[in-house]
């Protein structure tokens, strides 16, 4: 992996704007690849303590011709808040960064979201480059221009849509990613398989069956295909007025599970894995998907080393309550993304309480033949 020169380039077009996603190896150390997206002399890198210890030196070396300032935040979702945002603003101001500065995110989804929001709002928007270092950020969070911080009353409540100048995905960073986080990233990848259809889903099933190695040959293919699938949804509906909401497959369940457990029990991807299984079960209970689809989702999650059932200690009535916070709610009705078969999803606001109850009950650990 270390010496491969292969890379993929994917262009994303939204109204009035076009930018590339570059996926490859050793991009953080590739001065030429980086420089072409930096606007002028000034650069501000935002990262966290953990990622800084691994990759900051490499990135700074690549930018050695620039005035390169750095903000290092503590690691974790807890720090995706106003205080961290202010640290970034303060660093930009005290180092006299002008409107032609370039802000670079080096890290996972938390770093990408908060840095993107800082770039979107510093002097009404400066150039932003996202260098995601987790599988989840590489396949999901870094693509699509959603930036945000959390508010005490809710996750991602303050933010904006702001597209980067470029997304540079250095696959080498996956080598240092903990296994549990890698697997969590696979949940969103599997979601793309379910959204896009048989071809990619079967590819994933085969890759996982033979054991997907983080330095194996399939990773480039998996990351670039995921990015491509997400990018097509963004291009069709940048501001989530319609079809982009399908990317929320499994997420009504996942967000409720995360809020219920105060984001302490599962990584986001793990909650999504359970959410995808619930979405398949819901579709089955609504009579639109076959039982075999439910079994297939359970099987692929097992292969990916991911949970998929709801643990017995979760109170289903409380879980149902937490679903009421969903951002997709329209005219006070919940809207679920349901799945007829891989490649065929749609939004449904007509799910009955009974059907939802049966779905949640059937998703509980030990309540199903695959559990």
């Amino acid at each position: 992996m270390a010496n491969r020169k292969v890379f993929e380039r994917l262009d994303v077009s939204v109204p009035g704007y076009r930018y590339p996603i570059i996926i490859g190896y050793h991009l953080l150390g590739d001065s030429d690849a980086l420089s072409q997206y930096v606007a002028a002399e000034q650069v501000m890198i935002v990262t966290n303590e953990l990622v800084a210890s691994l990759y900051l030196h490499e990135l700074k070396t690549s930018l050695s011709g620039h005035q390169c300032d750095v903000v290092i935040l503590p690691d974790g979702e807890t720090y995706k808040n106003q205080a961290s945002l202010n640290l970034i603003y303060d660093a930009l101001m005290t180092n006299s960064h002008h409107r032609d500065t370039t802000v670079i995110a080096l890290g996972g989804g938390v770093i990408g979201d908060i840095t993107g929001f800082a770039a979107a709002t510093y002097q009404r928007g400066v150039r932003f480059i996202n260098c995601p270092t987790t599988l989840l950020a590489q396949t999901d969070a870094s693509i699509g221009g959603k930036t945000a911080i959390n508010h005490a009353c809710g996750k991602n409540m303050i933010g904006s849509f702001y597209q980067p100048a470029a997304v540079l995905i250095d696959l080498n960073t996956l080598l240092t990613l903990p296994g549990r986080e890698f697997n969590a990233g696979l949940a969103e990848v599997i979601k793309y398989g379910l959204l896009a259809g048989e071809e990619f889903l079967v590819y994933l099933e085969e890759a996982l069956k033979h054991g997907l190695r983080v330095n194996g040959s399939e990773i480039l293919q998996i990351v670039s295909r995921s990015a491509q699938i997400k990018a097509r949804y963004i291009e069709a509906d940048e501001k989530e007025q319609g079809s982009r909401a399908l990317l929320n497959l499994g997420h009504t369940f996942a967000h409720a599970l995360e809020t219920y457990t105060s984001y302490q029990r599962w990584l986001h991807g793990e909650a999504v894995a359970i959410g995808l299984y619930c979405a398949a079960l819901l579709s089955y209970h609504m009579g639109i998907a076959k039982q075999s689809l439910v079994e297939r989702v359970a099987c692929i999650m097992t292969r990916a080393g991911l949970p998929y059932t709801i643990p017995k200690d979760i109170d289903l009535k409380q879980l149902r309550q937490f679903m009421q916070l969903d951002k997709k709610i329209k005219n006070k009705r919940l809207r679920f993304v349901v799945l007829k078969k891989p490649g065929e999803c749609y939004l449904d606001d007509g799910v009955t309480e009974e059907c939802l109850h049966n779905t949640l009950s059937a998703a509980v650990e030990g309540e199903n033949s695959n559990g």
Copy 2:
């Protein structure tokens, strides 16, 4: 004025988006005019203590069919900060405002800027209606989608470009505007005259010569022509990549004067008046404008009851330092908007320190034949 039914409608088109500016009388009390721009059931009005005492009741009555919540901020530029922004976010969250809410600004430039920024960033953007109540906000701040709060280190440093769903300019609100604030608003209007050319400038000179009354017949014409001129710049260059920067005529000087005096000495429009005179002097010292243009600018400011010279107690070296914070700086070079004659302006990044020094010296009170 009170019973006039006349109004003007002006449409602004930016990439992918179009919205109206409605200029007329009694718009705040016109339930039909307002309702057509409100998205759904929920409305959040943001205003300040002074404006609330004058116009909040009228606006709330017009919105009586809606869930209408209100945030009342203290009056003044001091409160255009993160703390006020958080008050708005908190009110939106605690009153469970969904993504289909409508946020309405009722006030001057401070209220419009901060409310627009809250709307731009709450749940990644909700509907925004701007009801400006000062001449400055009606002719400048409310038009063009610039939203912002101040940072301890600089004015408008945190913000975004976010276009409203509509701008409703109720000219009746000018009746309660203090004379000094009305005159300050005229500075931006005069700037449009200098940018747009002889026709509007001569119209203004004549109107001011005969005494412009706040309830006179020229006001509708002046506000709508100003809005139109600004809107054309916005349409050509929404994000200020190029020609929109010309709207900064006089502002490099004005912002430095304001920062130097901690925003305590002049109203923004008053600083702009001095800045416009400096811009004319600079253009003269560069040999591109005639002496008569400088005299003409001094004369029109006098007619409008505005200052135009730099007071003697201002240290010109320090003032020069404050210019270095200008947002138009590119590759560390100051860029000035210079004026050949009314209707002919351009950006110049080749102003020498000597020329700048001569300009500032000549602008000092008593140093010129018109002072």
